[in-house]
């Protein structure tokens, strides 16, 4: 029996149609995944159900009754709850206090809340200390508080908008388990995601959205992940190796190594040698604490770790935007630690920075200007710019790297995230000389097609003999692309696995500081 029934739902923002004639039924007791690329309309659909937006056309029924919430308050009252990507918790209050917020009763009864929390802990495994302050909790625990807040009122339908984007692997496992528990108790769950692996693990049915339309709704038993990807992207992802490998082989062991022309090259001499790198932030807190690492020619070394364990600082130091407190970094015999970005570039280092908007490009400038940001003088005669020569060179580079924009003169901001990242890669991989590439969180916020393009570029660079350091918080990504994975924990490398022996569980344990290999 359907809990929620949508028919002919349409939502426009100005001239843009975000959702077009959506008809969908959510059954009682099912986990229903909404899958789609960025901008496909997943979040808009959630917001309609939760009453944040109101549809321009179409009807909704909830438990057989007409359902047209005029705001989240009405949706909540009808038993629809939602966990947003950004949490709404008061950081300096305790868990119990946060849970009492918004319970509109004049007399607060902390004891009742704690009793209810114990019930939920027993039912769903949602363990959390009621007295803990929110600001002391990890992201995963905060999300758990949000879910508890939702379940307190015994809702019919739980909507989770990209809940796993912020979590580390074991937290994702726990969350997906909770989703199943919620569904087992006869409630329904809508889970928004663009991670294919999660769908195959948790969903009963999946609806694929593309450009505001439903492409298909499929039952997951016996479903083909490949066809889901096709529906989601709208075309065959060429050599879809890694994305699919990561999705299908989510359970871990050994992902199918994508075959590239040269195959995973055997690493040669060291291009990058980091020894005993120490970095203390301006407050004197050590962010990197004696990190040593070698990257050889023709190999991709992945750095896995929960965010905030020194990856960002490592990226900044390699880019020349922060000076190490101690230790040495040598690229092909040239010391680069604490040198200027220009000196580092001259040593043959390409950098794809973690923060695309703050460091990698200047979004107000044109694509051509961004492609030659480090070589402005190259198209300059007597100090005046030769814009037509630069445009021609930029057009060629955009063709080579498949950067899609109507012209090299449009602003960087008008490009999709994927095309921005391809432009950054184009610039960094066109450096001459080039012996080493740092790619920090290179696929963050990109859709499947762009992710594939980025992987292919990185692999091609490796096959050309470059040493590549890949810093990522996506374990699947690291396992799909790296030849070797080192795990960073509290500013140190705590373990290393070679290709063929990657294990989700082992890496996850090292990431949380529990194990040492």
């Amino acid at each position: 029996m359907a809990v929620l029934e949508l028919s002919g739902l349409t939502k426009r923002f100005g001239a843009f149609t975000a959702l077009d004639d959506i008809s969908l039924q959510i059954e009682r007791g099912e986990v229903h995944c909404l899958l789609g690329e960025n901008g496909a309309g997943k979040s808009t659909l959630c917001n309609l159900v939760f009453g944040v937006h109101r549809p321009d056309a179409g009807t909704m029924t909830l438990g057989g009754e007409p359902f047209h919430p005029r705001g989240p308050a009405e949706a909540l009252q009808r038993g629809v709850v939602m966990v947003h990507q950004h949490f709404s918790l008061v950081p300096n209050m305790s868990v119990a206090e946060n849970l009492m917020l918004g319970r509109a009763s004049a007399v607060l009864k902390p004891q009742d809340i704690i009793v209810r929390m114990e019930q939920l802990a027993a039912e769903y495994g949602l363990e959390i200390d009621p007295e803990a302050r929110i600001e002391d909790l990890s992201v995963g625990e905060r999300q758990r508080v949000e879910i508890i807040k939702c379940l307190l009122g015994d809702p019919q339908l739980l909507v989770l908008d990209e809940p796993t984007a912020v979590l580390q692997p074991d937290e994702i496992d726990a969350l997906l388990a909770i989703c199943r528990q919620v569904a087992l108790r006869g409630k329904s769950v809508i889970l928004v995601t663009h991670k294919l692996g999660e769908i195959s693990r948790v969903a009963d049915r999946t609806t694929v959205l593309r450009q505001g339309r439903i492409i298909e709704t499929v039952a997951m038993e016996g479903a083909d992940i490949r066809s889901l990807v096709r529906s989601m992207v709208g075309r065959d992802v060429q050599s879809a190796g890694s994305v699919l490998a990561a999705a299908v082989d989510i359970e871990g062991k050994t992902p199918a190594k994508p075959s590239s022309a040269a195959g995973p090259a055997s690493p040669g001499e060291a291009v990058l040698k980091i020894s005993d790198l120490v970095y203390r932030d301006p407050h004197g807190v050590p962010r990197l604490d004696g990190l040593s690492l070698t990257v050889g020619t023709g190999e991709i070394v992945g750095i896995a770790g929960v965010e905030g364990n020194g990856q960002t600082e490592l990226g900044l130091i390699l880019a020349g935007l922060a000076a190490p407190s101690a230790g040495a970094i040598v690229v092909r015999g040239t010391p680069v630690g604490g040198r200027t970005p220009q000196e580092i570039t001259d040593a043959g280092v390409g950098i794809v920075p973690e923060d695309r908007h703050a460091v990698a490009c200047i979004k107000e400038l044109s694509v051509a200007e961004n492609l030659y940001l480090g070589a402005i003088g190259k198209f300059s005669r007597f100090g005046l710019l030769d814009k037509s020569a630069r445009r021609k060179a930029a057009e060629a580079m955009m063709r080579d790297f498949d950067v899609r924009a109507s012209s090299p003169d449009v602003s960087m901001a008008s490009l999709s995230g994927g095309n921005q990242q391809k432009a950054v890669l184009a610039r960094e991989l066109s450096l001459d000389p080039l012996v080493f590439l740092l790619a920090a969180q290179p696929t963050r916020g990109l859709d499947v097609g762009a992710i594939e393009a980025v992987y292919n570029r990185i692999r091609a660079a490796r096959d050309d003999g470059l040493g590549v350091l890949l810093i990522s918080s996506e374990l699947e990504e690291l396992m799909a692309v790296s030849d070797r994975i080192a795990v960073i924990y509290r500013g140190k490398l705590v373990g290393e696995l070679a290709a063929g022996s990657f294990s989700r569980e082992a890496i996850g344990a090292m990431m949380s500081g529990h194990a040492h290999v």
Partner: protein, 364 residues
């Protein structure tokens, strides 16, 4: 409303293209509106509106002399405005035009009085101009160094440097051992002696009595150079990049501190040149308040131009003529000077407000 019919949409677009560009229409219309409101205020003060308008027009452009004087005013305003847009290309706001004018005028006077007068081949006025430019550049560059080294907000530092420069001028014309003219003179106001004739800027039309001097050519060259640098040079692109995103510019190999200091130095230098031209072109001796708000008017000119060198020219001419007109209105039609200032303020507010309107259309 969305135009469904492509033909209709084309017609609508064509109709808009036929009109004079909005960027021109809006400031003109808004100036007229502001002047209209100004006239209402003048009427409210009891002065004769007709008389006021006559005096205003006469002061602006009533004679060759008045036209020349108006353009001379515009020259200094344009230089300060150019300095403003130069710094703002690097996302820096130089509000210290007044202090940079003061430094430029003071040092140009000193150079003209002490040594430059006897130089041959036009060096007699070129050297004081250069000295004034350098003094302004130093004053602006100081704010750039503070910004680059310590992150001091340049709005605050340039403003405070102005508060230092203005009393320095006052001190220099108060002190006999500095620039005050000798006591032997009949009147002994706190001002410098007149600069030697050889150091005064040559007039463009010496025969018809117009005070218009070669500062016009200097300003014209400055307009072209600033336009080229900001719009078409690699330096302009680097300034823009540093101003938009210092971190990304650093990563791309630019020395961001250098460009911050450079932008402020050039910006201050243009202000200093403006101050030097005021002394050498029209005033001929230094008084404690010779800059009399030109720095702030020039700042407004720069703001209203929205980064365009052509906009600076238009704005500077507008303000130059308005200033001449309002001075005469105060003298001949006895309109209180406060009312004149109110009218100027109104124009600024209306133009700045209408800029929001055109901006919105342009970004669409």
């Amino acid at each position: 409303m969305v135009m469904k019919n492509p033909k209709l949409a084309r017609v609508a677009q064509g109709a808009r293209l036929e009109l004079v560009p909005l960027q021109v229409v809006v400031p003109v219309v808004s100036t007229i509106i502001a002047l209209g409101i100004g006239l209402l205020i003048i009427a409210a003060t009891g002065a004769s509106v007709v008389e006021a308008i006559e005096a205003f027009w006469d002061g602006m452009a009533g004679s060759d002399f008045n036209i020349g004087a108006s353009i001379n005013r515009a020259i200094s305003l344009a230089l300060v405005g150019l300095g403003f847009i130069f710094a703002s290309r690097a996302n820096l706001t130089n509000v210290g035009g007044e202090g940079q004018i003061a430094m430029g005028g003071m040092f140009a006077t000193a150079a003209a009085l002490h040594g430059a007068g006897g130089l041959p081949l036009g060096l007699a006025f070129i050297v004081p101009l250069a000295v004034g430019t350098l003094a302004g550049a130093l004053w602006g560059g100081l704010a750039g160094v503070l910004k680059a080294a310590r992150g001091t907000n340049e709005v605050i530092s340039t403003l405070l440097l102005s508060f230092i420069a203005l009393p320095l001028v006052y001190w220099s014309v108060e002190s006999f051992h500095l620039l005050r003219k000798p006591i032997s003179d009949v009147s002994s106001l706190p001002e410098s002696a007149e600069i030697p004739d050889s150091t005064k800027l040559p007039l463009l039309f010496p025969d018809n009595g117009s005070p218009l001097h070669i500062g016009l050519l200097i300003a014209a060259i400055a307009v072209v150079v600033v336009w080229l640098v900001l719009r078409h040079s690699s330096l302009g692109l680097r300034l823009r990049a540093v101003g938009l995103n210092a971190m990304a510019s650093r990563r791309a190999g630019m020395r961001t501190s250098f460009y911050v200091i450079l932008a402020m130095t050039v910006s201050g230098g243009l202000g200093g040149l403006g101050g030097a031209i005021m002394i050498l072109g029209q005033q001929f001796y230094l008084t404690s308040d010779f800059s009399s708000g030109y720095g702030f008017d020039g700042l407004v000119v720069g703001l209203l131009s929205r980064g365009s060198a052509v906009g600076v020219v238009i704005g500077a001419l507008l303000f130059g003529f308005l200033r001449s007109g309002s001075i005469n209105m105060e003298i001949s039609a006895h309109v209180p000077s406060a009312v004149v200032l109110i009218c100027q303020g109104l124009i600024v507010i209306v133009i700045a407000g209408s800029a929001i309107l055109t901006n919105r259309k342009v970004t669409r």
